[in-house]
């Protein structure tokens, strides 16, 4: 699918880029209301491309994979706002309902998340310089306020650039992957691998919130409840 066939006008692309900046800022700088979580940003990306359900699905998979990386202290963690937005937009633009496009969108989101993590570290180094002259900032509090606000804006610019750099390639990759793989057996293998990866993410994510190993039966109880719900839904 060529880029021109993607159901998004110039204004739509611009909205995606601006939204990427806002979502990136939410993760760390302001206001941390968690619109930057991949579940939310993925759905927003899908919604902008006319398919919020596809965006939600990619966002939820990325969310499961991100649970293992909470922002404790100065730890490095994926920049989930732009990541989810790019992935959700890519899968929705590809029309959903394709394992190839789903995997491409997840991989794009994962890559954007970790590249974003590197840019967050670079921004933090930049903030060091911005806030370095402690004596001058203490003597002129208004300067401290200006520098702090500048740091906030630079974080938004970082997120917007990250989104602008990756959203079109991700959309193209997902659109190209529609109908992949051609073989039914390869599709089954791919789906099984994705399900296994999600199970591994769920298990690993569980330990982030658990204080020990004792809670493992609850994982199985939840899975059984899920299987019953799926069975009842037919």
């Amino acid at each position: 699918m060529p880029l021109a066939e993607i159901p998004l006008h110039t204004a739509g692309w611009l909205i995606l880029v601006v939204l990427g900046g806002i979502l990136a800022m939410d993760a760390v700088s302001w206001p941390q209301v968690m619109v930057s979580r991949p579940l939310v940003s993925g759905t927003l990306g899908g919604w902008l491309l006319g398919d919020p359900a596809s965006g939600f699905l990619v966002g939820a998979v990325l969310e499961l994979m991100s649970l293992r990386h909470p922002p404790f202290g100065a730890a490095r963690y994926p920049d989930s706002g732009p990541a989810g937005l790019v992935a959700g937009a890519a899968y929705a633009a590809a029309g959903g309902a394709s394992l190839g496009a789903l995997v491409a969108a997840i991989l794009a989101g994962w890559a954007v998340g970790w590249i974003g993590a590197v840019t967050v570290q670079l921004r933090r180094r930049g903030n060091e310089r911005l806030m370095s002259n402690a004596a001058e900032l203490a003597a002129r509090p208004a300067l401290l306020e200006r520098r702090h606000r500048l740091a906030l804006r630079l974080d938004a610019v970082r997120g917007a650039l990250l989104t602008a750099g990756f959203v079109a390639p991700a959309v193209l990759a997902a659109a190209w992957s529609v109908g992949q793989p051609a073989s039914g057996r390869a599709t089954a293998w791919g789906a099984a691998m994705l399900v296994t990866a999600m199970a591994a993410s769920a298990g690993a994510g569980g330990r982030t919130s658990s204080t020990g190993l004792r809670g493992w039966p609850l994982l199985l109880v939840g899975a059984v409840a899920g299987a019953i719900a799926v069975g009842m839904a037919g």
Binding site: S29, G55, L99, L144, M198, G203
Partner: protein
Amino acid sequence: MRPLRKDLWSAWWRSFAVQGSWNYRTMIGGGMAFTMLPLLRRIHAGDPVRLSESVARHQSAFNSHPYLAGLAAGALARAELDGESSASIERFRTALRGPLGTVGDRLIWAAWRPVCLLSAIAAFGLGVDPLWSVALFLLTFNAGHIAIRVWGFRSGWREGLGVGKALHESWLEWVPRRLAPLILFLLGLDAVLLSRSVLDVVEWNGFFGGLAAVAAFVALVAFRWPRRAGRVAAALVLAIPIAWLVVATLIG
């Protein structure tokens, strides 16, 4: 001079941006000074030297969970108003750093946020519209988020250097413990519901029971060795296109 209500509101609102200038040298030190400035300007009105000294104190290295930074900002501003010595404020800042980070991380990042996220995913898996599921997450999560920020700032401002006892309040300890089992249950539930959604994409007609057994085994192994399992999960997703190439080449 005692701060006005609008100064308190301004400081509370600014606490949402406390991590704006996060850096590896002072962490949220600059953000703390930024947050407290409306209060410090009022407290030290007409005395630029004391204002400058207090800004210097509060922009030095500090860290805390962002949602609990308001507690520290309120308490430190109260200490400035009460005329506490520079040395006792420094000691208090140092003592507060560790607990505010640990308590906040356990309560918010490891408990409250996962519960709200996983509940929203479960709602979607059970048929709720995706936009409503996202709204459910944002509303429930931020109800707790805003409540903690309000509670923290008010406690800090009310108690000053005695705010340590607010941190020892039992609910901060027991909430994460009570939520942990729910998170594990929701993780199991969501893994199955999301798997169903993925399998629907490919119109899977293979043996679901076999795949479920493998997935359950993998989840339990991952629970036991989470660090390695996280890497294995990422590697598995990365390997899917390679597996397709191999299968297509060998089998066609």
